[in-house]
Every structure is written in C-alpha cells, then in structure tokens.
C-alpha cells in the first residue's frame, strides 16, 4: 500500500507549512506490484482530482514511465489501463515521504504511512 492515488492526495500538514508542501518525495522505497480491479467509471470520475504532474513524477520515482507528461484530452482504453496501473497497482511498502518545504519525514512501514505530527508541529 501507499498507492500512488493516495500519494497524490496527501500533502504536508505541519503548522505553517502551506506552500510547496506537495507532492511529498519518496525516499528509500520498496515497491510491490499487485493486481487491482479495473473500473473505468471510477478512473474517469477521479481524474479531475489528480494533480497530474505530481502523479507523473511520483510514477517516475518508483520506476514507471508509462504516463504522458500532459493529461491527454482523449481518454482511450490504453491510457486508462496505464493510469489504472499507476494509480492502484503500485504499492510502496517501505520507505518514507519527505515534505519538500519543511523536510518533515513521514515514514512508511508495512505499507502504512505515519502522518502524525510532533507536538511542536500542530496548530
């Protein structure tokens, strides 16, 4: 777990860290690939929520270059298949995510990221 869909939805939320706090940078990751059910309605519905550049960059960080740099206007089946794979089938099991702004490190263990803040970081 920590699939790229989730990575695309998580921003650093340390007190005062409000700009350049997304996307978090993967470090020392262990990746596993697992099949997921394909559902094109779900993907089409989710596309408006995606920060496209962040998704393409994150996919590259974990070794996948199948996505185009720009979100295509025509959503054909081949594109949806690669999008499905990138969003839902790549699991980051170990490693960490670092905020590019405040450098808070969010560790990932057994696929669960620890997004808790320290007491000086909460609002």
């Amino acid at each position: 777990m920590v699939r790229l869909i989730t990575h695309n939805l998580l921003a650093c939320h340390v007190k005062g860290c409000t700009s350049n706090n997304f996307p978090l940078e993967f470090k020392d990751v262990q990746v596993e690939l697992r099949d997921a059910e394909f559902n094109s309605d779900f993907l089409r519905g989710f596309i408006p929520k995606i920060e496209w550049k962040a998704l393409v960059d994150a996919a590259r960080q974990v070794g996948n270059t199948s996505l185009p740099l720009e979100l295509p206007e025509m959503l054909d089946d081949d594109f949806l298949k690669s999008l499905h794979h990138v969003l839902l089938e790549i699991h980051v099991e170990e490693g960490s995510m670092t905020c590019p702004n405040c450098h808070h490190v969010y560790p990932i263990s057994n696929g669960i990221p620890n997004m808790l803040l320290a007491e000086h970081e909460i609002g």
């Binding site: 921003a11 939320h13 059910e37 057994n110 997004m115 803040l117």
Partner: protein, 459 residues
C-alpha cells in the same frame, strides 16, 4: 403505475427498516411508495406494503436489504378471512394468468404463532374459489402462494408459556400474496460474523449493524468511501464487499496493523476477497489531517470511539509544556540520540460532542456534493432530545435518517447526514480550545463519564 408488494421483515433493528429501504431505492435509482397511513408503516410490525414500479425492483431490494426476509406480490389482506378474500377477489387480474397451467405450492403460516395443521388445511381450502388448474408441486413449483397471519404480540406475558394453540385465530391482520424473492443479503450477517473474522478487536462492530451502515452509504462499485476512525476496519469489509473503494485512517496505527507484517485489516479483507478495494490505510489525527483537497468521497462511514471501551484521542497535551520543558523537547528533537525509541507524539482526550461537530464539518469539506456521512452516536436515553442531533449540523449538511439501537438506559443512534450543496468548502479549522458553553448541551456530551456513573445524575 405502481404495483403493491408485501415485504416481510426480520424483527430486528426496526428503526433502521425504512431508512434502509429508502437508501437502497435511491442507490438503485427507482421510486418506492410507502403506505400513506403512518400506522401501516409501523416498524414494530413485521409486514409492510410497498408500491414499486416492477417486480425487478422488489428483487433488487431483496438482494441488498439486510432486514428483508422475503417479498411477495400483494394480493390481499384483511382483519378477517372474509375481508382478505374480498380484496383477493378484487385483485383477480393480478393472479388470473396463473389459473390455467401453473404448478403451485401454498404456504400458510403465522407470525408469533403456529397454526394447527387442521386449520391450515381449512385455510388452503378457503382459497378454492381461485380455481387454479395447475398441479400442486411441493418441491419445484412455478409459483409459491403464501398466507400470513400476523398474530397479536404476547409481550405482556413475556417469558411464560402459552397453552398449545392458545389464541389460535386471534390475529391482527392476515396477508396473502405470491412469493417474489427471498432476502438473500441476510446471509451476509453470518458471512461477516466477527467471531469468524481473522482479525478483530474489542471495539469491532457487529456484522448486522455494519452491513446496515454500509447500505446507508449507498456503497456500490466505483464509489470511494472513507473511514476516519478505521480501528479494526469493521465497516470497511461490507462496504468494500458491495464494491466501493475504501480509504481508512486512525490516530492509532496499532489498531489497523495488529500483529505480524501484513496489516490485520488487509488479512481480514483478504478473507472476504476484498483486499484490493482497501485502497490505503494511514495513521493520522483527523483534526490535523493531510488530505490535499476536499470533494473527494462519496461517503464517510465511521463508528467514532465514544469512550467506554476506547476513548477518542487527538494530538496535543492535556496541559501545555512549561517553557523550559518545551525548550528541552525542541533541543532533543533537533539532535536525537541514535539509540532513541521512535518518537510517539502525545495525545489528549477528544470529547464526544466536540468530535461529532468536527466530524460533520470535516465531512462537509471531504464529501462530494450529495455524499453521505454515516456514523454512530451514543446517547443517554432519558436525556436525549432531537435537537442533540440538529445542534451539531452546519449549513449544507442535512439529517436524512436517525435510527436508534436501544440498549435500555443508553442507546446509540445511526445518523445519516447528506451534503446538500454544491459549494466547495475550505478545510475546516478545528479549534484547539474548547468552545464556550453557550450553546445547547447534547445528551452525548461527556458520554464516558455518564456511562461509568451508571447514568445517574451528579448529585
């Protein structure tokens, strides 16, 4: 033009019955007409006559509803057999097509009673005017006709035995119809039985209620559902089973992980064949959450901890650190020693009525327009007022169902709230300090203290 169907319900969680029917008809996208007379909607009675557009809709309801035992095409009812036969004759056009050549089986039964066999035979005979020419087939009939007597409840004599056949023939109503479908979703209660689950905890929600909650979320393939107090994932399994994609978070990751490398929730989800629909689990505090944007989820389903077995927590300290201690802490954070244990941030209690208000605000931000928040709220039976629920709402969020599960001196309410506006909200700012108590004080405030006091007043 609607056709009337007779629904036979399990006599459990009766306040959940109508909300479940309405939710499912909305999910499947068809109309459902409830009886106009409120007395005919009485959920403490096992039968309900519902208007639907076609038989397929009745089958769909029976395939997903947890409380439906069986569904019949309605042919007639009455408080005496004379009345029943009169209305059945008037509905001849509904059953005339089965007269010439349809094999059938006749069931005569009663709710709250057992009809003696001799009288059962007489009852079957009394329908002879229908003149069915097809053969009687007890094993594989083309249609099943069923006649139900709804006997008066003997609650006042609870625990005493009745004489055999005492009160026979004293029924409130008798109903007649043709069987359309048996409620197939009730078997999910056994399938999701917590005792047979590979991972659960002391706060896991019982299977039947978690399935009812899942139906309130309108869970179906392609929907995205979030549980912000994931715990051991009780609500995730049925919602994922119905096809939704699940995100879960909890302030305490140990609840989601359990022992071993594979998180406990993933182990249990694998048992039910839904592991791929658990999209991700994250450890964080919902008052300090990392969601990058709102309008994300079709539903939020949760059972917030209310403090009896486990209390809700949020990040922070009950008492702030003194400046000296804070300086020492910061210094230590800046240069940790290599043999340090991993840092675990301090937490403080999260009072239930605050949590409920914050949860509604957060849901308004995170839900898509039309999305639903479905959650349990414990409450003190004697002190509860309807305003308790309404006082935690904010503009744009409306209560659409509120069903009590009664435990006597306390109970818990399954509240379904819908986001009714298309406005995109900013993330709510959760106030760190308690609000001044100038507002309405709901009965669920300080529920933990009240529970352990045995719901007696302070004095």
């Amino acid at each position: 033009m609607t056709v009337q169907y007779l629904f036979f319900f399990a006599q459990a969680h009766h306040e959940f019955r109508i909300p479940e029917l309405l939710s499912l008809s909305k999910m499947f996208g068809f109309d459902l007409n409830l009886p106009e007379n409120p007395e005919d909607q009485d959920p403490t009675r096992p039968f309900l006559i519902v208007g639907l557009q076609c038989e397929e809709h009745a089958r769909l309801l029976a395939s997903r509803s947890i409380l439906i035992k069986s569904v019949y095409e309605y042919y007639g009812h009455g408080s005496t057999y004379e009345e029943l036969h009169l209305s059945n004759r008037n509905n001849r056009n509904k059953w005339a097509r089965y007269i010439p050549d349809t094999s059938f089986k006749f069931i005569v039964t009663a709710y709250n009673h057992k009809i003696p066999q001799l009288r059962q035979r007489d009852i079957v005979e009394s329908f002879s005017y229908m003149g069915f020419l097809g053969k009687i087939d007890m094993k594989n009939p083309d249609i099943v006709l069923a006649c139900f007597e709804e006997c008066k409840s003997y609650i006042d004599r609870h625990g005493t035995t009745r004489e055999k056949h005492e009160g026979d023939g004293l029924f409130k109503q008798v109903y007649f119809g043709r069987q359309v479908a048996m409620g197939s979703a009730r078997s999910l209660i056994t399938m999701f039985d917590v005792k047979k689950r590979s991972y659960y905890g002391n706060t896991s929600m019982e299977a039947e209620i978690s399935l009812l909650m899942a139906n309130q979320t309108l869970a179906s393939p392609g929907k995205v559902i979030y549980d912000p107090f994931m715990g051991t994932g009780s609500m995730a399994y049925p919602t994922a089973y119905f096809g939704a994609q699940i995100f879960g978070s909890d302030i305490d990751g140990r609840q989601m992980r359990g022992k071993g490398d594979t998180p406990g929730i993933i182990r249990a989800a694998t048992q039910y064949g839904v592991a791929t629909r658990i999209v991700d689990l994250c450890t964080f505090d919902i008052t300090q959450n990392p969601w990058r944007c709102g309008d994300l989820f079709d539903a939020i389903i949760t059972d917030p901890p209310y403090g009896v077995r486990a209390g809700a927590k949020r990040l922070g300290r009950k008492r702030e650190l003194s400046p000296a201690k804070m300086a020492a802490y910061l210094e230590h954070r800046a240069s940790p020693r290599p043999d340090d244990q991993p840092y675990i941030p301090p937490t403080k209690p999260y009072e239930l009525s605050r949590l409920a208000v914050d949860l509604v605000l957060l849901s308004r931000y995170l839900l898509k327009p039309g999305g639903r928040l479905v959650f349990f709220l414990p409450t003190v039976t004697d002190e509860y007022e309807e305003v308790d629920i309404y006082s935690m709402l904010c503009p744009g969020m409306e209560v659409i169902a509120n069903s009590l599960q009664d435990f006597g001196s306390w109970g818990r309410r399954l509240v379904t709230i819908q986001k009714t506006v298309r406005v995109t909200y900013l993330p709510p700012v959760v106030e760190a300090q308690d609000r001044p108590e100038d507002q309405h004080v709901p009965a669920h405030k300080d529920f933990r203290e009240k529970y352990f006091r045995g719901f007696k007043s302070k004095n």
